[in-house]
């Protein structure tokens, strides 16, 4: 289902349909996370990707409307890059030990454990992410305020 949605996202003629099938692909990836036992990550995936990123993509498509009637010629450069990325990922996957080895017994990942680890072992990355988000917010505000000043 994810493959179908991703293919649809890349090849549907109407841009909005492509964006919406992108959202379906996100939901599919969240389902993968659930099957792997990481429920928190799966829920956050739905929350962030479908709830925010997909909405963002849809908004940008809406506000920067192009003529949908011009068919683009086939993009050979894109095919080359896609094949290169595919090869890289397949190489990386084959490099891992493989499914014949029994996976180690991990303790069930609860949200409490994630919280503890975030606050103790990974507190620096957490603070850096917070800084990045603050910078993004302030940048957005500055962009909007400049428009207001230039208008009035």
């Amino acid at each position: 289902m994810i493959l179908a949605a991703a293919l649809a996202a890349a090849s549907l003629p109407t841009l909005i349909h492509a964006a919406l099938s992108f959202a379906v692909a996100f939901v599919g990836i969240a389902a993968f996370f659930f099957l792997l036992g990481a429920e928190f990550v799966g829920l956050v995936q739905v929350f962030v990707y479908v709830g925010a990123v997909a909405v963002l993509i849809v908004f940008t498509i809406l506000l920067t409307r192009r003529d949908a009637a011009t068919p683009e010629k086939f993009n050979w450069g894109g095919v080359v890059i896609a094949i290169a990325v595919f090869n890289g990922l397949v190489w990386a996957i084959f490099l891992t030990p493989g499914l014949s080895i029994a996976p180690p017994q991990i303790e069930a990942l609860t949200v409490k454990r994630i919280g503890e680890v975030l606050m103790t072992d990974y507190v620096w990355p957490l603070q850096c992410v917070g800084l990045v988000l603050t910078a993004a917010l302030i940048g957005a505000l500055i962009l909007v305020m400049e428009e207001k000043n230039s208008k009035s």
Binding site: H17, L20, E39, L43, F47, F59, L62, K112
Partner: protein, 395 residues
Amino acid sequence: MNDFLDQIFVRAKQMLLPLLTGAPDWVIQLASSLINIFALLGVFLTLFALISVLERKILGRMQNRYGPNRVGPFGLFQPVADGIKMLIKEDIVPVRADKVVHFLAPIMIAATAILALGVIPYGRNMTPFAIDGGILFFFAVGSTTELAVFMAGWGSNNKFSMLGAMRAIAQMISYELPLIITTFPVVMVVGALSPDAIVAAQGGYALGVMPHWFVTTPWGAAAFILFFVSGLVESNRTPFDVPEGESEIVAGHMTEYSGFKYATFFMAEYFGMFAISGLAVTLFLGGWHAPIAGLQFIPSYVWFFAKLSALLFVYIWFRGTLPRTRVDQIMNFAWKFMLPMAFTCLVSPAVWHYQGRGLAGWLWSLGVIVVVYVALTRLIDTRKKFATRTYRFAD
């Protein structure tokens, strides 16, 4: 006897399931989930029908007139008449509308609203789907609603719908932040994201009489008010119903929907109301616990639905009393007032906790909230500044 009435639905389901012994494991699980789903849908569809007529009657009484009172005793069969009307209406789809998106939008909105109802504990041992990260699931599903609203506005190929959808999404995204941040105090104090754990943490009674609900603490009360107001905005209810303002943009993103699809939108809005009220009851008002220790003989689900009904009445009361706010007023309110207050509600339970969760903690957290509230209301001036009026012809 008390336990029998309380657990009557759980026992009924446990009596139904052994009819399937001998079937493989997944069939029994599937049947169990399906029974939960059907019970949930049955209860809430009935509640939806009742609320749709009760709302009109309550609004009518507030406006000094009777509500619908022709169809059945006191107008209580009005939903049946409404349902028949919606079903036999012609399904008009605009010629140049995006057919797939136009069709899928009401389905997605209704589906996400019903999904959100599945994680709320309705009584002792009566949560349809007890997920460990239940609160997160609720909000994840709620944020998918925005995409569905956009699909509704876009699929209609109508500028008013598009405008209405964009305003609706802007409003819903802005108020998602206070909505979610006001649930953090509760999650922090309880230490778990599962609604069952949160309800269980509100179970004790101080002095045998006062319940341990989170709304009796200052940060809980403030968070409850903020959560409730954000819920009002999230479900696009008056006074924040700019997206469906009937006098402004002709039902906004729902303009091009007729008959049953409009009924689906209507239903999704009410289900959103139920879901947010249910979550407010779970998080702040003690879930299915009784308010006084002496009244615990009344079954738990009766208490839950009584509290839910009280909140729904307040929703309808607001609709009958308050005028609609402007879009820029809504946005100002969200970003300049609700967000800082939500953050205060995040600091306040920390103060309460570290002061020992007793009277000292109560007073300190109250102090924090009052100081920030007074500072905010004095310092933020969100009135629109108009230029001085110049009169051209009168002097």
